[in-house]
Subunit: 139 residues, 4 copies
């Protein structure tokens, strides 16, 4: 249950393979089970009324599960999302970053399953929950 | 975030409204947020090979979310499941009860959202995860 | 996109590997993509008020996806459900069987994905929708 | 089961309330049950390798369900997504738009449920399936 990549390794890897999201996400912490990611909320993530868009929250959940999986299996850029479900429960607070707490529930030979809670920074009532399944390519 | 029903109230209520499941489920503990439920695994819950059937695990997740919701809103027998998703992650251990740990993530005016992890008793690797949405009837 | 098992083969196989459900389900029709299954609704499937229980509807969706997958890959009893989601949309009609219409959306090397709509017999407004993911064991 | 808004009304309404997505989506057709939406795939929707990003597919499914719901209830900009699940089944084809076929399965007093299949234009094997639940504000 030990991470095989450091936060610095993963940050560098993410920026290289997903250059288009480098300004959006920050890995706050990882270990082999729990990952904390930040979405630096900017104008382009918002919907009218100042709320964060659904696709932006989906993206945060997705990248959190990706990082949680890679932290254990190492650099497998081909790992792909195969399934997810989300519940949108509260309106994110205007002007706050979103913080995702991801827990890797299973790392199998061909699939990983991660559970994610998303919070407005500083609040303890989750704005969304998600679960993400990643397919892991055979060695 | 306080329960409005005791474990004894809820147990008596469940047995009255769902007599057909009284031999299956035991409420281990409740508070206003967390609920622990036991499925007393018997022959009728099994599939070939001794594993617990999918419908039995679904039923455990569903009743856990129902109890977690009722603990906060009181006896509303008409509260109904509107949505769920589950991931089946490991084979339950033969001859062990299943224990569900349910967390009420949201209690809104018309919907509740509960997240559930299911374990074989004595193990700390979850066999399944679920989320359940209940519709709450207007007062 | 051709079935490799007939309805009779699959019926005989299901009864052998899942003897506990032989009185519940009937395969109405299969081809390589679409499967129609009937749940013969009986007292044991009901909740108070005469509605069919959630676990019974889950079971119907699950076995429909299993049959839809086996129709294409042949007898692989070890194929297991890895994920699902369901929406419960209407109350089933009392005294009617439930009919599931399952469509195999993907048959990959390691996963199948099936979409299911469940109807009270004779009605054209679905009572539930589901999607089921099965893991296919390596040859 | 009749639409209460025309394609032109809905297009004008979407562009006004979601100006940030006006260059992404086109309503191809609507009636009271079925909606067809196009994602005009551009550089900003892509991931390395030329595949369309998960958040872009989520966004397409989400807006399709929104339009399918509004087509029946009229301009209710406050209608919000409460739940979804998706399966990502095939890699979208490079250089092709994505076409979503959405079916409104239920329009209740407080919730709508929509099922969506997403295709690369010109292909008949779906790249993703989704279901979306929208909460409808009380009148």
């Amino acid at each position: 249950m030990q991470a095989v990549m450091t936060k610095e390794d993963l940050t560098e890897f993410l920026e290289r393979v997903f250059p288009q999201v480098r300004d959006d996400f920050v890995i706050e912490s990882i270990d082999g089970v729990n990952t904390v990611m930040r979405l630096k909320v900017a104008e382009r993530h918002l919907r009218p009324g100042g709320t964060v868009s659904g696709p932006s929250m989906f993206g945060l959940a997705d990248v959190s599960a990706y990082v949680a999986t890679l932290a254990r299996i190492g650099k497998e850029a081909l790992t792909v999302t195969t399934g997810c479900s989300m519940d949108f429960m509260r309106k994110p607070e205007a002007g706050k970053d979103l913080i995702a707490h991801a827990t890797l529930l299973k790392l199998g030979r061909t699939l990983s399953v991660t559970s994610i809670l998303i919070y407005s920074e500083g609040s303890d009532a989750p704005v969304a929950r998600a679960n993400m399944t990643y397919s892991i390519p055979p060695k």
